[in-house]
């Protein structure tokens, strides 16, 4: 699909609403294994992007993504800020450097996720948002439909419940971190699903 300024602006609104709606839930997930501020932090981040949405949407998509990343880094606060920020900034940088077709997007996404992994010094199975990003990228690379990618994101977040946290504050809990869904994975799935549902509704028939 052709993704224009109106799409980006509407997606920003939808992501903000979705995080707002799940803010308490994310906070509860984080209270179980962390410091309990993930919902509030994400809400602050999305609010900051929302306030700048007109200026952001006026930019070419790669520059807009980079700008969103920077706003998230500066506003989210907790460890999630630099992680989401890195993802968006690297996506933007990758898109401004490369071609704009689908195969390239999967490769750009893979590189952006690798940058997130470096920033968090984490890998697969560490019970982080990466455990959603890796399978989502695999679906994108396999040209899956948006609905399928959304399902994959939710299932991937749920699968973090049985993982043992190896990064972040949850790792201090050791085995007690098992049995709780990771809040970062959960917010990542919510945002992925919001984007996918929008793409599904607005894809050319």
């Amino acid at each position: 699909m052709q993704f224009d300024a109106a799409d980006l602006s509407e997606l920003i609104v939808l992501c903000r609403v979705e995080i707002e709606r799940h803010c308490e839930h994310l906070g509860r997930l984080d209270s179980a294994i962390g410091d309990g501020d993930h919902g509030a932090n994400m809400r602050r981040g999305l609010e900051a992007v929302y306030r700048e949405r007109d200026a952001i949407s006026a930019l070419p998509l790669p520059a807009a993504l980079e700008r969103i990343g920077l706003v998230l880094v500066m506003s989210i606060g907790g460890a999630a800020g630099p992680l989401y920020g890195t993802l968006l900034m690297e996506l933007g940088r990758g898109m401004s450097a490369g071609e704009d077709d689908e195969a390239d997007f999967a490769a750009i996404l893979a590189r952006a996720i690798a940058a997130v992994a470096r920033r968090g010094r984490s890998g697969p199975g560490d019970k982080t948002l990466l455990d959603v990003l890796y399978p989502v990228q695999a679906e994108v690379a396999g040209h899956a439909a948006p609905a399928r990618i959304a399902e994959c994101a939710r299932a991937a977040a749920q699968a973090t419940e049985m993982m043992l946290a190896r990064r972040g504050r949850a790792s201090y809990l050791g085995a007690r971190s098992v049995g709780h869904e990771d809040p970062g994975a959960s917010s990542c799935a919510l945002l992925t699903m919001t984007i996918c549902h929008y793409l599904k509704e607005h894809a050319p028939s």
Binding site: D37, R44, M74, G77, G78, A79, G81, P82, R119
Partner: protein, 133 residues
């Protein structure tokens, strides 16, 4: 800032708690007076527990020295946000900003003592990190 002060490596303290950060800074001051550039940041943008990149950047600027700055952090987000802040300094200055793998209070005090003698950044960092070895 006097030339003598800016010649020494600066110390930056980053905690989720402003009280912890300020308390650690007080202990550093007691140890070395004002012969080492020192700044602290603590709390999120709303004043609650947490850390944020803008606050860390401001602290780095406040404690900046051409000899470099050693940064001390407490938990996860403080480290990740400090890394993001250092990256935003640009490559030339980022090379002079080291995030230390050391306990916040003890590390900052030991590093400041080392810095007050005019040691280079690498030496200041190594001395602090010996605490974790």
């Amino acid at each position: 800032m006097t030339p003598a002060r800016s010649a020494n490596v600066g110390i930056v303290i980053v905690s989720h708690s402003p009280l912890v950060a300020q308390g650690a800074a007080d202990m550093v001051r007691q140890m070395v007076g004002d012969c080492v550039p020192l700044a602290w940041t603590g709390g999120n943008v709303e004043g609650g527990l947490g850390t944020h990149v803008a606050g860390i950047l401001a602290a780095i600027e406040a404690a900046w020295s051409e000899a470099g700055v050693a940064i001390f952090v407490d938990l996860g987000g403080a480290e990740t946000n400090s890394e993001a802040a250092v990256e935003m300094l640009g490559p030339a200055r980022a090379a002079k900003a080291a995030i230390c793998n050391a306990p916040l209070v003890e590390g900052a005090v030991v590093a400041a003592a080392e810095a007050s003698g005019g040691s280079p950044l690498a030496r200041v960092v190594a001395t602090a990190e010996e605490l974790s070895a």
